[in-house]
Subunit: 431 residues, 4 copies
């Protein structure tokens, strides 16, 4: 992981130390289950808890010899144990520990990530309300289309985020599974009951059928949901980058006191956070790709997924979390330039009302084809010459007669906000 | 799409003709809504239905002039209409039609895909039951690990497929949205009520907030669920390819009467279907990547997603469908060589029982470390020499004394199937 | 492949018929080699050429029975042959034909693609010369930076394209290999000499070591070079989309007579071609991903790459070719709005000259830090207030004294074009 | 980067400290150029070299305020400078430093990577020679095909590696470019001559046309060449994993003294290194994807590539280097089980000679179709029954008469190695 983008609490979740602690947590849950089922004597778990100590360096040194991280962990942790050590890792295989602990880590990451999304959702909704009635020009293909509500931008992101939160919850629910079923997942040396009890203590459920490992579809799905979420964040980032373009300047991401935009050009205020998020979205997409490829393991498992997961599980969760948090920071502190927003609506000299003119002509009886053709003709002329579209229409005798005093009415942005309220109502929220 | 992999009914869903028919279907639903709300005169929809005819060539010719597929469609379809044409496409923008019709197409594809998955599930479950009690060697890292149930392979796929069916249903539910909200999604020239009524007729719901288009997160999520499903199919395919390897030969995909494996080598029977599926999984993954990149459209939309979707929507749905259907064909007609399966368990001369020996030693009081070390020593010797592991253990005085008559018991595969039933029970099905 | 994006001559290269013709071409080259080495009687190739006829439907019908496309081809093509048939496909394996013919197809595609790139290069260079002296505002982070030459945009694309042409040539040179070395690539039943002669006739060289197939690194590299080229085209497309934005309007992709930008908004002229190319770049990237995954075949080959290549070889070559041709069309017919370009330089009221002011202050003795700080202060004030940067500086006594009459000189764009000529000279071309 | 996979000397190349040192190296080269051109007084570079000190913590602290890493670097490094500071970073923009230093880092990485590949090449070639005459069964589709040389496996990898080394050299040559051309790449405040001199000192050439940055096609191409190389390594890894499968056991990756294969199963020796490499290939592929997406920057640059490159430049170079080094370790220490290799040739009871039988029949006058049909018939029967193919053929009167005493000759593997020497000769090497 790139140090500068690693935020707490996730950062601490992915240290080697925390990983070993999670492994111990799983091992202990199993011992407790053995106690509960009277296989291990009462007090065994407690004894282990007291005697087990995690010494990262010692584990790494041991790994150099045995070339197996879980075996090194067991050797090191049980070093000072007495007879209780015989119940440590009993009936288990390495992947029982690694995969169950992995699920724990991911569930915890997802908790933080979902929570962070929910806070971002609040910020987005707040802005959506704040700017509901501010008219802005809607742009399709980067070209002015028709006026709309500036708040709708935020509401659209909010709606999409809401879907992503649902997906994240779905994924979290899915991924909250463990497996304690031994070398090939058939409970050869462990009772399914032990798995059930131990996993329950950890807040997990048994995956219905395991091989040596938990199937990688869970992680692949999680990573793709991250990629879908990253797509939204990229959409937000790109919108703000567009709005911050010098010619548009309708919004600006926060620019800190003391910040410098360029080493060469003192006047610069650049949307560097949004650009950073754009780049990160590419990373998150690439993790999904790795996740997909990690699924088709050989037979009852091969370990090819493992090296890849050492990179992508920490990096994907920390990066998406960073992205959400930064997006929230941007949304909460974004500068909106209302004046420019309003001003920009009119830079086409009224062309953006062309559809309304066309529909008005249809309403008074012109055919759609005819209306389209005549309106396009004037529109293109206005486009070339920079003349006022409204004035041009007024000069056309036929149109002027057909539309009469409606023309002035047509060239007002408020009309386009008439039905906005209906959209907001869909979220059933107090404002 | 590659002709040879295009199966009905999906193939017909993606012809140009069917696409135009869906567009007309959406246009008509809107007209009906206008009628219902007394905006269009009663009978308008009926008139349009009668006068509208889809002439693919004429639409394509018109498109060459106007360079816009929806406009070409409207021009061509309304050619012979009378006054009712004024209600055709009224208040709509092209994307209202394209995106809503897209959703219709995808929902229909998903119906077929889910149905196909469910049938595959049945086949997998049947095989899982059939081979429940057949012991086989579990392989981890490609190396013999411990015996397990051959049926578990199928059950593991069945369980993963079940999760994928749930994901597909989730995605289908998500994607069943339309939008009829005009040029920038603000209902400038159409009442939200019209959208609601029209979409209901089509079996869709309004997307909560649209820009000019429906947000692409829906499709991106769908494509990633396809990629996750393709990962399972790849897992199945790779397993069968492994089992069909000459040295293993525990299973074989169906080989048709008259089929030839090689132009050069008359003896060959190759798992070409499974290999084909393996290659296709790569395609499906790549579509997800395109789907992710298609999300961050500029402002109220740009149309960059459109060219990409012309490829990937038909290709992804048809290819994944082909994959599911072919997998089902393979599973239903797979040849299982029971004798080889049983024979293979013993090719390590008993090494695969090493864990059981170790645990038995722990049970009678040896420490785990000591047991591991001694068992590994004999195991490696047996591995090198090809001697019988059991005989070797019996010759060790200490072990022989500690385990006594348990030794013979240990070297039996049935032990490993003891708890299998518990796994099967989780699915709560009649056998 | 999507019909509407398939252009000649590549489209014809990828029909089933042309594929079979290439197969026959390879088979015949081998027979000719046998003749040359006096293994086949003189005249055999000629006889085969006369008796072999390609009947696509018959081949497909036969394939339904034998489930193997090359065997079906052989069976069908040799149907009416006499004794000369015994030299047809003699000593070969299917992949000898398929892979060698594939190389032929790809070399031919690359010829067309390289040629198309070279023509695009000419168009880009021409525009680079044409707009060399037109000052424009350089934008970094989407924010006005400093003036530069509008022609440099084209020259930068030209330079990058030149690199891509070199890469394409490298790839073409690499990929011009065949293999006629039998079932596992060891010339078991064919003399290496035959391969050499036959391939020479086809304009190919033997791949140094084959398995049953030619290694897939060649194709993977080709597809990634396509992806790198697509990245350039995307860069061009995105630049034009930006320049066509209503607020910027410095350029516009060609808009045909009769074209319609929107079914709803008659005034619209949208950069739909550039958007189309943007979407296609995503596809081309995704093919590279498939190409990478297609490399690690099992042992002396598996056939998993085959299904994937049936999609991506035609689609990647045809799509990248379409992209190059469309880009050329756009570049050759692009509309450049000089007035807007010049006008836009000044919309920041002179801020874009901030670095020059800073450097001028350093030149007259101020420290860099001090100069940066004071210039940033005025720049930000000017940014907020919209005041003229130049006037503001003139009002500052210290600056005004230090820079004196240099100030007016500083605020001229021509300064930024001083060294442009040096860049153009690097290409050593006549203008 | 994942600590455990970071190897020297690359690891040190990517620390923050080394990065700042490279930045300083570039800044100094520019100052030296200014000296050479008599713009800076003699001795300036020397003074700067003496007064500049890199204090990582101070730079990071400063960055927190200015939110710009290069500005922080300049501020911190010039802290204790005297008047010479005015020539530090003079006329430059941040990207001049960052991108030029990046090229330096990548060239250095590529030097190490190419060198490592060359050593791997030697190891592969050595093994290719060593096992040239060892017959083994060639496998296509995972199914026994025909005998071949075991050494050819290595030679095939060697040949592909050779191509990759060429590609890496091409990429290194390409990427050895810098840019010192200011804010928008037009040498507004720096003479092209300065760039030329400074870059020459650094062993780089000017990129022909820069924007604010060096075009990202160079890096994208490099990353794709890594992905192509990773595909080869994956191919090697998968082959060894296959050969180490219990049923095959023809080779085994090195297993260290003291190593443990499984926490549960003491008998296990798993190809964990090869599996690790397989997983890493997926990562390398994913970096290429990010590289492709990083190309289409807005206008004269946006900075979206930067966050992504902070991850993928270190991770891709370090990971591919780890992969090459590990592959070499594996190849140099691989265990080859000659006996099993020879034994495996015959497990089909002679079926693998089916083509030779067919061709022998054609040679004595049978038509290819007839020969194929009869041989396939016996082959399939032999396959089902496990009978000896040779004996079966001998019992067929017709075949027995046609082939007579040739039959025994046909069933010998040496025949398949006849032409191997020709392949080896292509590399023109002493053995």
């Amino acid at each position: 992981m790139v140090e500068r983008y690693a935020l707490e609490p996730l950062k601490s979740l992915w240290t080697l130390k925390t990983q070993y602690e999670r492994w111990l947590e799983v091992e202990l849950a199993v011992v407790e289950a053995y106690e509960e089922k009277n296989i291990a004597p009462k007090g065994t778990a407690q004894k282990i808890r007291e005697s087990a100590s995690i010494d990262v360096d010692d584990i790494l040194e041991t790994e150099k010899i045995v070339d197996h991280d879980v075996i090194a962990f067991i050797k090191s942790v049980t070093k000072n144990m007495g007879d209780e050590a015989r119940y440590f890792h009993y009936g288990l295989t390495s992947s029982d520990i690694v995969d169950t602990a992995n699920s724990l880590a991911l569930v915890r990451c997802l908790d933080t990530i979902i929570n962070s999304c929910e806070k971002l959702g609040e910020s987005l909704y707040k802005k959506a309300i704040e700017y509901k009635k501010l008219p802005t020009i809607g742009r399709t293909h980067g070209v002015h289309a028709e006026p709309t509500s500036f708040g709708l931008k935020f509401l659209s992101w909010y709606a999409e985020l809401t879907r992503n939160i649902e997906r994240l919850k779905y994924v979290k629910e899915e991924i909250a599974v463990g497996k304690l079923s031994g070398a090939v997942g058939n409970y050869a040396n462990i009772d399914p009951e032990i798995e059930k009890i131990a996993l329950q203590k950890l807040g997990l459920k048994p995956t219905p059928v395991a091989t040596q490992v938990i199937s990688r579809d869970y992680i692949a799905h999680m990573l793709s949901v991250f990629a879908v979420l990253a797509g939204l964040i990229e959409r937000i980032a790109i919108e703000i980058r567009h709005l911050q373009k010098t010619e548009v300047l309708e919004a600006m991401e926060p620019f800190k006191e003391g910040q410098r935009g360029s080493s060469a050009m003192p006047h610069k205020k650049n949307p560097i956070l949004c650009e950073r998020l754009t780049g990160m979205a590419r990373l998150i997409r690439s993790y999904a790709q790795v996740g997909f490829e990690n699924m088709a393991l050989w037979h009852e498992r091969d370990i090819s997924h493992s090296s890849a997961e050492r990179y992508i599980l920490p990096d994907s969760t920390m990066t998406i979390y960073y992205m959400i948090e930064k997006t929230r920071h941007i949304i909460e502190n974004i500068k909106i330039f209302d004046k420019n927003i309003v001003k920009n609506i009119d830079i086409t000299n009224g062309l953006v009302y062309s559809q309304r003119v066309m529909l008005a002509l249809v309403d008074v009886g012109m055919s759609r084809e005819e209306a389209y053709t005549i309106v396009q003709k004037y529109a293109l002329e206005c486009w070339e010459t920079g003349k006022s579209f409204k004035e041009m229409l007024k000069k056309d005798e036929n149109i002027s007669k057909l539309l009469a005093d409606k023309i002035d009415e047509i060239f007002k942005p408020d009309y386009y906000l008439r039905n906005i309220e209906e959209i907001y109502k869909r979220f059933g929220r107090q404002e």
